[in-house]
């Protein structure tokens, strides 16, 4: 039983690290999504005058 308890302990520590990492990665991913949204907006804004000129 002790062995199982110790092994559980280890696994939980591992699990904790893994969850932390996944959470962190998700944070980065969310930030990247925000960044992409900004980029798209910028691209759209630079398209506007060109469309006005050429497409009418």
């Amino acid at each position: 039983w002790d062995k199982l308890l110790i092994s559980n302990n280890h696994k939980i520590i591992e699990l904790n690290d893994a969850v932390k990492k996944v959470k962190n990665d998700q944070q980065v991913l969310d930030q990247e999504l925000e960044f992409i949204a900004t980029q798209h907006k910028e691209l759209e804004e630079s398209l506007a005058p060109l469309e006005k000129e050429f497409v009418g």
Binding site: L5, N8, V19, Q26, D30, A37, H40, L47, F54
Partner: protein, 57 residues
């Protein structure tokens, strides 16, 4: 200790649920971005075509 483990795992379960939600949100945002890219790409193409026409005239 065993109780602590059980408690901790409850917490992890909650965190996983939250992560899945965030993942779903991120997924739909990505879809949206892809649609936006397609739209922008189409608009740029239209400009290129019109500009070419203008130049030839």
């Amino acid at each position: 200790e065993t109780d602590t483990h059980a408690l901790y795992m409850k917490k992890v379960e909650g965190e996983l649920t939250e992560l899945r939600n965030r993942h779903a949100t991120a997924s739909s945002k990505i879809l949206e971005h892809k649609r936006k890219l397609a739209e922008l790409s189409h608009r740029i193409l239209t400009i290129i075509v019109k500009q070419e026409c203008t130049r030839k005239v």
